[in-house]
């Protein structure tokens, strides 16, 4: 970063740190904070949409649709989210590769699961082993977003379901008396009022989502936890910047980052609910 960084062993403490904290690995560490924000920004609207769709489906007249959406909404109540984070990516990965295997290599008739292995032909692999690294990263990150969306969509479905039920029954009856059809009732009566009841629950959900972002690490993504472990671990003198085990400081800085993130969110959400004259 700076010119005087060429030989760190000769530097004074302050200069050493200014070099150390701006080296290549640290830049990657700082960039991974953006990854967390990106995940939040992408997952929140997707999960809201999925949750709203599921909440409407719970009220549908079709038995099968009702059954599926109810099961989906209730499943997160009984099963820890981390199980989904481990289960969904590998399942979807296998599903895609299995389908591609069936289409691209129909000549191989052996079962894909052989003993303790999952074998598909090499052209069916996704991403292809010849693809550049960024495609692998993108693929992994998309799977992560998908898992977060599915889990938080189920939470949101519960919140929306409660909110839809909180819209006064008499208003819906009035709508019916005016001859509105189902779609009109949803769009001009339920949806505009639902937010008032849903917002406290959605605020909590946002907090829950923020606090589950470090689980990205378990999905094998190079996120802030990965880099904190990587950089913080003790470095011997063969490294350019030798230091003892500093992981605790790195994790404490992550703690502070999350505290700031939740505090700012809390202030912003309180402001929104005050603006809407909502009971907090």
């Amino acid at each position: 970063m700076f010119e005087f960084c060429s030989d760190p062993s000769t530097l004074s403490t302050f200069d050493w740190f200014s070099c150390y904290l701006t080296n290549g690995k640290h830049i990657q560490f700082y960039k991974s904070f953006g990854l967390i924000i990106l995940l939040l920004v992408l997952t929140a609207p997707l999960a809201l949409m999925l949750g709203l769709a599921a909440a409407v489906a719970i009220k549908s007249n079709f038995f099968l649709l009702r059954l599926i959406s109810k099961t989906y909404a209730n499943i997160v109540r009984g099963i820890p989210d981390i199980i989904f984070f481990l289960f969904i990516p590998i399942t979807i990965d296998q599903l895609i590769e299995f389908t591609r295997h069936k289409i691209k290599c129909p000549e191989i008739i052996d079962s894909v699961w052989q003993g303790n292995d999952f074998i598909v032909c090499s052209v069916a692999k996704l991403p292809l082993s010849s693809s550049p690294q960024w495609i692998h990263d993108m693929y992994g990150f998309s799977l992560a977003i998908l898992s977060f969306t599915i889990v938080y969509g189920a939470f949101a479905a519960n919140t929306f379901h409660g909110a839809i039920n909180s819209v006064p029954r008499s208003q819906i009856d009035t709508g019916k008396a005016f001859g509105m059809n189902k779609k009109q009732i949803y769009f001009s009566i339920i949806f505009p009022q639902m937010w008032r009841y849903a917002l406290p629950g959605l605020s909590n959900l946002w907090m829950l989502l923020i606090k589950s972002t470090p689980l990205l690490f378990l999905l094998g993504i190079q996120d802030i936890v990965f880099w904190a472990r990587e950089i913080g671990g003790s470095k011997t003198s063969i490294f350019q910047y030798p230091h003892p085990d500093w992981r605790v400081w790195y994790f404490l800085s992550l703690l502070v980052f999350y505290l700031l993130l939740t505090k700012i969110s809390e202030i912003a959400l309180n402001r929104v609910s005050k603006k809407l004259y909502l009971p907090i």
């Binding site: 109540r77 009984g78 099963i79 820890p80 989210d81 981390i82 199980i83 481990l86 289960f87 590998i90 399942t91 296998q94 699961w113 003993g115 303790n116 292995d117 999952f118 939470f155 519960n158 919140t159 379901h161 409660g162 909110a163 406290p200 629950g201 909590n204 959900l205 829950l208 923020i210 606090k211 589950s212 972002t213 470090p214 689980l215 690490f217 378990l218 936890v225 904190a228 913080g232 085990d245 992981r247 605790v248 994790f251 404490l252 992550l254 703690l255 999350y258 505290l259 939740t262 505090k263």
Partner: protein, 279 residues
């Protein structure tokens, strides 16, 4: 019964009792079922101990915070903020790295007449270190729940208690704490379930599983890695978790009935699962 020998070998495997080696090839359905079930022991251990200790500490901290003592109330507020505002996953990492830094030999605690050596090495083991973090975490969340309930106790209730000339202790025992628990029980049920689910994080954060004795998720992911087939171990662990979650709800419902036994039957509010997740 084919499964009998497996149960004998592996049912207490998570505690280090029984067969040392985990099945490597020819993993049967029975192996998976028994080993994941044995891992559940850890999840229940963490949940039960952290929850029951946390319950007592949460009530005390909530009452202290509500009474607005100058420094200690502020300290509790900061503690609750730190533990509620950050992910449990990061808390595990922080705590583990801190515990590792402690001197290996132990800390001598000087009580006036005798010296006790506190074995700090235990803190880096999951059974104590992770339990400690889970305890601090659930205490913070429950403390916030109880504090909210304390603030919303009707002033008239306390006035009535004062008018009857109840002593401070009796006032807390007969009026304030029961009302607080009654009003916050639905939220606290949620907290208990979330804590139980959070126990799966223990062996996936930095706490290592010694000699492969981990919790249910540890074994489930072991099988998923070994067999490349996630469709058996994960549904098994999901079934276990759904079953125990239902058990927790049942127990908390029974306690709720006890709290509300003074109400006529039709007014007994049965706790429903909140659509408003507090955690």
């Amino acid at each position: 019964m084919i499964c009998e020998s497996t149960i004998e070998l592996y049912s207490l495997r998570s505690l280090g009792i029984g067969e040392k080696l985990l099945p490597k090839s020819d993993i049967t359905l029975c192996d998976q079922f028994v080993l994941i079930g044995s891992g559940i022991i850890w999840n229940m251990y963490f949940c039960i101990i952290a929850l029951s200790l946390g319950f007592i500490f949460a009530i005390s901290t909530a009452i202290i915070r509500n009474n607005k003592y100058p420094f200690i109330s502020k300290a509790i507020e900061i503690y609750v903020f730190v533990f509620r505002g950050s992910p449990l996953f990061i808390q595990f990492f922080c705590a583990y790295e801190l515990f590792v830094l402690f001197p290996k030999i132990g800390i001598d605690i000087n009580l006036i007449f005798t010296t006790v050596t506190f074995q700090t090495g235990w803190l880096t083991k999951a059974w104590l270190g992770a339990l400690f973090v889970l305890f601090l975490n659930t205490t913070a969340y429950s403390s916030e729940i109880f504090y909210g309930a304390l603030k919303s106790i009707p002033k008239q209730d306390i006035d009535a208690a004062n008018a009857f000339g109840l002593s401070n202790l009796r006032k807390y025992k007969k009026i304030i704490i029961p009302t607080m628990l009654r009003n916050s029980w639905a939220s606290y049920t949620n907290e208990a379930i979330f804590l139980f689910h959070a126990t799966t994080l223990v062996f996936f954060s930095s706490f290592p599983a010694w000699s492969q004795s981990g919790d249910a998720l540890y074994y489930a992911s072991y099988f998923a890695d070994k067999t490349f087939n996630p469709f058996i171990p994960y549904p098994i662990i999901a079934a276990y978790f759904i079953f125990i979650t239902l058990l927790i709800i049942l127990i908390f419902k029974i306690i709720n009935v006890y709290f509300n036994k003074h109400l006529p039957r039709e007014r007994k509010s049965s706790i429903r699962f909140l659509s408003n997740y507090m955690r």
